[in-house]
């Protein structure tokens, strides 16, 4: 029940395309859902996060869509660029400083 399932495992898109990464969870106590971006050899960096009281959140080219009833959330990257090539992790937590539960990651490659 603590798992967060993430798909796809890897994704290749052309420059300007809109990659979509999906995550699903079971634990209805989760109330905070951050996304992390990780470049090779670096630690993950917080990208964007959402709470279940909203259905969508945008920050620049990154958008989270959240479907509370389906217990699913997804990351969309608009006008993707080669510099967006990285591994993306979704995560969930019950808040209050509790530990995050991470998805298994998606390796994104944006080709010219």
């Amino acid at each position: 029940q603590q798992q967060v399932k993430q798909s796809p495992q890897s994704l290749i898109v052309q420059k300007g395309g809109i990659p979509i990464i999906n995550c699903a969870y079971e634990n209805t106590a989760f109330d905070y859902f951050p996304w992390y971006q990780q470049f090779p050899g670096k630690g993950p960096a917080l990208l964007i996060a959402i709470r279940p009281d909203v259905s969508e959140k945008k920050e620049g080219r990154f958008t989270i869509s959240f479907n509370k009833s389906a217990k699913q959330f997804s990351l969309h990257i608009m006008d993707s660029q080669p510099g967006d090539s990285a591994t993306y992790f979704c995560a969930a937590t019950t808040g209050g400083g509790n530990k995050l539960t991470f998805g298994t990651g998606t390796q994104l490659k944006v080709e010219l």
Binding site: P34, K42, G43, A45, L46, K99, L100, G105
Partner: protein, 111 residues
């Protein structure tokens, strides 16, 4: 602003040797601290977390241990490294109802 320091960045150690990785956080008090391990091309596995000095919770049985001697210091140790301990080790912190912030990681290769 808060910063997290993790060192060393890379480490090559022989099998059977001891290990000590250190992580410190600046700019915040009483953070929750975490050690994660990431195998090549894999996800993040939580190893230990701490909500205060001397308070350590272990997520998986293993050859490693953690200690928190000071409020903003977290140490990952091993008495005798195994080949399977190789990986990318990440320290992270969080406070209250927030997401975690990661250090830059330590690439450990056990040979």
């Amino acid at each position: 602003s808060q910063t997290i320091h993790q060192w060393p960045a890379t480490l090559v150690q022989p099998v059977g040797s001891p290990l000590s990785l250190e992580c410190t956080v600046e700019g915040t008090s009483n953070p929750n601290l975490y050690w994660y391990r990431q195998a090549a091309g894999r996800g993040l596995q939580l190893l230990f977390y701490s909500v205060g000095i001397g308070q350590i919770s272990s997520e998986v049985p293993q050859n490693l241990s953690a200690s928190r001697p000071q409020d903003r210091q977290f140490i990952l140790s091993s008495k005798k490294l195994l080949l399977s301990d190789s990986g990318f080790y990440l320290c992270a912190w969080s406070t209250g109802d927030t997401e975690a912030f990661f250090g830059q990681g330590t690439r450990l290769t056990v040979v």
